[in-house]
């Protein structure tokens, strides 16, 4: 059995004071100076630990408080109150919600998965990924040991084209050459960012993150610098210029190249293969209503891997866009129908914001995913998008330390990896490859509502 894939995590402290959901408001006026003040009795020692961050002039109080309300309910003069934090509500937008952002911050800081008591507290369902549930199995393996102990749940994924059968000549020798395959230990690529503050720190953090995770970061050819050469075995180079401009030593060392979609993309792929036969090429294209047809055609023409990219809200390019999971189901099923699904690797990206999205998107037919904005959030990004306007980043990402950034990315991806194991474990599935397209092991909101709620209230 291969060594178990393990991501090393370590606490990586926040540089800035956390933006919390609520804040403590305490008045001094009217204080009775009780000898046994409720502030002293705080179970979490919030008031003892409090301090001022001199750089931001912010209190530490709220990032330690756990909302037990003991002081609010105990103060005889009712001088302590709690209230909503408007800056929290203002984080992100309708898709990148404050809850998602703060959850990602927690994982990037602690390297642990979010665990809490008291059952689920969220909405019944929602759009997109919130409109499906994953299956569980009452009695089959793997046991919990599979997640934490002796047994093994594999999250390894291959990128490349697959032969459907091997062929041999009359001497018994293999008569076909299997195409190259790149194997990564978790089904995630680190993608180019849709927007980001300038500076090398962010890019180097992502590269270092990819290296320590054993996966790849997609880097634009135009962004490639000699300083990145040490990361060549973890770079998927995106060609946004001329292939002839790439140094031959770089080209021969690369294992993954991403080509933008064009009419001649298969020809371009074949040309690349002449210089580096071990290379796997990925065709990057916008997700759109035509994707299914295009993907089937490209697969038949010899494409190895296709990266279908939605916008940052998971929507395809269209006037009436479908969400990434819906379009991917369509593409996956069309490939199955055409009998070519297993030949091609499908990579999906855009709007992947939480660990659960990884599992759900794979169930809907992707082999692996690309992740972008969460990498920035791991480094404390608040999704304010001011960098798009050229305004300075409120958390100073321009000058971020790549070592710290990489440790935050590693922590976050370790959290996602562990959560993927929880989902797989609950389903009794031992490898993520088997999760792909397993729509029968998921429950979809639309189906359940139609079967169950839509029939209620009618006689007979």
């Amino acid at each position: 059995m291969p060594a178990k894939y393990h991501i090393h995590t370590a606490q990586a402290a926040n540089r800035f004071q956390l933006i919390t959901r609520s804040g403590v408001i305490a008045w001094e006026e009217g204080c009775l100076k009780c000898p046994s003040c409720v502030k002293k009795a705080c179970v979490y020692k919030v008031y003892e630990k409090r301090g001022i961050d001199s750089r931001q002039m912010l209190e530490s109080l709220d990032s330690v408080c756990k909302d037990c309300f003991r002081c609010v309910q105990g103060c005889p003069k009712q001088l302590i109150q709690k209230g909503f934090n408007p800056s929290y509500k203002a984080l992100g937008d309708h898709y990148w919600t404050p809850e998602i952002i703060s959850g990602l911050w927690y994982q990037a800081e602690a390297g642990r998965i979010p665990v809490s008591g008291g059952g689920y507290g969220g909405a019944f369902s929602g759009p997109g990924f919130d409109a499906m549930w994953t299956d569980m199995s009452e009695i089959v393996r793997p046991t919990r040991d599979g997640i934490h102990g002796r047994e093994y749940i594999s999250t390894t994924t291959d990128i490349g084209r697959k032969l459907m059968a091997l062929e041999f000549d009359e001497t018994g020798a293999l008569s076909v050459t299997p195409p190259p395959v790149v194997e990564i230990p978790l089904p995630l690529l680190l993608d180019m960012l849709p927007w980001s503050p300038p500076g090398m720190g962010i890019k180097l953090a992502i590269l270092e993150g990819a290296k320590s995770l054993g996966t790849f970061a997609i880097i634009r050819q135009s962004d490639f610098t000699p300083a990145m050469k040490e990361y060549l075995s973890n770079i998927a180079l995106y060609i946004d210029g001329q292939v002839s401009d790439i140094e031959p030593s770089v080209l021969s060392a690369l294992r993954l190249i991403e080509l933008p979609y064009s009419k001649e993309v298969i020809a371009a792929q074949n040309t690349l293969k002449i210089t580096n036969s071990g290379l796997v090429t990925i065709i990057r294209m916008d997700l759109s209503p035509d994707s299914a047809e295009e993907v089937v055609r490209l697969t038949k023409e010899g494409a190895e891997a296709i990266h279908l990219v939605a916008d940052e809200y998971g929507l395809e390019k269209s006037d009436r866009p479908l969400f990434i999971k819906e379009r991917t189901r369509d593409i996956h099923l069309r490939l199955v129908e055409a009998g070519v699904r297993d030949q091609i690797t499908l990579i999906s990206g855009g709007g992947i914001a939480m660990a659960e999205h990884v599992a759900k998107q794979i169930i809907c037919g992707s082999d692996l995913l690309s992740v972008d904005i969460p990498l920035l959030i791991a480094m404390e990004c608040r999704v304010c998008r001011r960098c798009k306007e050229g305004i300075a980043c409120p958390v100073e990402l321009e000058g971020v330390d790549p070592v710290w950034g990489a440790s935050r990315i590693r922590n976050l991806m370790a959290g996602w990896h562990n959560q993927l194991l929880e989902i797989l474990g609950a389903m009794g599935i031992r490898e993520v490859k088997r999760l792909r397209g397993e729509m029968g092991r998921a429950m979809f909101f639309e189906d359940l509502e139609k079967d169950i709620f839509a029939t209620l209230g009618r006689r007979g």
């Binding site: 309910q73 909405a123 989902i423």
Partner: protein, 498 residues
């Protein structure tokens, strides 16, 4: 005989309510407000009246009343406003209104009058969008005493004794170690007072619980902690926990810190060492293995009913059928949104289906199989109110099983930090001695009793409006319930309650 309601105020100095009432310096202590307020918001004070119970204040709607203190105060010294802290309480499932309503019921045994929504939460789907369809024409008036809320748990027709409970619910398992001894005992005592049951959870139980053994369910969970011949023999119901809604398909993990010498003794383990409850039962890999399990209990205890607690996967209906043929008397479906113990957030939100889907799915399947009358379906995992309970029954359950609601009655505010540091800061889910002492047993027991008596009254009134004399008539009545997204008032004869 049902127990009586006793008034049991909050154990904290300032109870939390929707409104804030303050008396300013202008007050001349004339005492008019004290005399006016029928809700007991004020208490007499030496310089000015004290706002002793603002959570009982009726709030702005009171302005229509003769006794509205804000207008009647000669010095205009009373200020009434919304409590800014109120909106940060709870979550989408347990909205601030639902929390405050539950506290009100636990304190007074009455339905809240403060304009709180005590019927639904704010989750935007499931129970929160299901409504009863009441007949427009009133039938003959049914006196409260003639409405039965009792259910029989043994419907199998076998030779084992019947177990009839006067209310269509019992209390779910929370293990010693996960909650304090006061919490555990109060739940068992409340169950005994209501003549129903309380499950022990995994890990056995301390000797303080033995006097209530007739109202206890021994749980056999995957770690088999606390399972012995004695603990199986002394109860009337034994429950197999295959999975639980909070973490479907995942096991349990009791942190080393929580394995105190007492917990360790009960679990036959070593103090300070973390204990894993594996998933799944290592002795069960087929439905035949499952039958062996059930037979084991039946051999060990010849009078016990066997309950099987499962989570809600896609094939939950098949699981239920399998349990029936293996000889179970009760199938408990534990929906994915409930649970009290700590669990990964990803599991709570995403794995397995909400109970609102699972119950009708199983009810229909068992009916088609022709065995629905032979087994009792208990719904759990996300039942927050009397209305959720009644809806679950209309969707096909015989009764329900509760957990979180009890904790809310004990003034849980759903901060979700049960496991942080010394455990629950409010002394409910902790083994820390100092925190455990925040709550008295009699107080806790009566709070739970008060809440459930109020639930029962609400259930009776729902049944009466539907023209039913027994809760058993409500089971699986898909025609008296509708979902707001799919049914319009114009399309139906009855009145859709909004």
């Amino acid at each position: 005989m049902l127990p009586e309601v006793k008034k049991i105020p909050s154990r904290f100095r300032n109870a939390l309510g929707k409104y804030r009432v303050t008396i300013t310096k202008e007050c001349n202590n004339c005492g008019i407000c004290l005399k006016l307020c029928p809700y007991g918001v004020y208490k007499a004070g030496s310089k000015k009246p004290r706002v002793a119970a603002e959570h009982l204040c009726l709030g702005f709607p009171c302005s229509a009343n003769e006794f509205y203190c804000v207008n009647k105060c000669p010095e205009k010294a009373i200020q009434l406003r919304l409590n800014p802290a109120f909106e940060i309480l709870g979550d989408r499932r347990w909205s601030p209104d639902l929390l405050a309503s539950t506290w009100h019921m636990a304190e007074t045994g009455e339905i809240p009058y403060q304009g709180l929504n005590y019927k639904t939460g704010d989750s935007g789907g499931g129970f929160d969008k299901l409504r009863f369809i009441f007949p427009r024409e009133k039938g003959p008036e049914i006196p409260d005493e003639e409405v039965s809320t009792a259910i029989e748990l043994n419907r199998s027709g076998d030779s084992r004794p019947g177990v009839r409970i006067p209310v269509p619910f019992y209390l779910g398992g929370m293990s010693f170690g996960s909650v304090s001894i006061v919490t555990m005992l109060s739940r068992v005592k409340a169950a005994a007072a209501l003549n129903t049951f309380c499950c022990t959870g995994e890990g056995g139980y301390p000797e303080e619980l033995i006097p209530y053994v007739d109202h206890m369910i021994t749980q056999v969970a995957t770690g088999l902690f606390g399972v012995s011949e004695e603990s199986l023999k002394r109860v009337r119901i034994v429950e197999f926990k295959y999975a639980q809604g909070a973490k479907p398909g995942l096991g349990g993990h009791l942190l080393g810190d929580k394995v105190t010498p007492r917990v360790a003794r009960m679990r036959e383990a070593v103090a300070g060492s973390a204990l894993f409850s594996p998933f799944p039962f290592h002795s069960v890999y087929s439905v035949e293995d499952h039958k062996k399990h059930v037979d084991w209990i039946k051999q060990t205890n010849s009078r016990a009913l066997v309950s099987v607690k499962v989570s809600t996967p896609t094939d939950v209906d098949m699981v239920a059928v399998g349990s029936y043929y293996a000889g179970a008397h009760i199938i408990q479906l534990d929906g994915s949104y409930g649970g009290t113990g700590a669990a990964p957030d990803i599991a709570k939100k995403n794995i397995a289906m909400p109970i609102e889907y699972a119950v009708p799915k199983v009810h229909k399947f068992l009916s088609e199989e022709g065995i629905r009358d032979k087994i009792t379906i208990i719904a759990s995992g996300g039942i927050r109110s009397a209305y959720d309970m009644a809806k679950a029954i209309a969707l096909g359950a015989n009764g329900v099983c509760l957990g979180t609601a009890d904790l809310v009655a004990l003034e849980c505010i759903r901060c979700h930090h049960c496991e942080s540091g010394r455990g629950c800061a409010r002394g409910i889910a902790t083994t820390d001695e100092q925190l455990t002492n925040l709550m008295e047993l009699e107080w806790a027991t009566q709070r739970i009793i008060n809440m459930y008596l109020t639930w029962r009254r609400q259930l009776v009134s729902i049944l009466k409006r539907l023209g039913m004399k027994s809760v058993t008539e409500l089971v699986g009545r898909f025609d008296v319930i509708g979902h707001l997204d799919y049914i319009k008032q114009e399309e139906i004869e009855g009145e859709l309650e909004l």
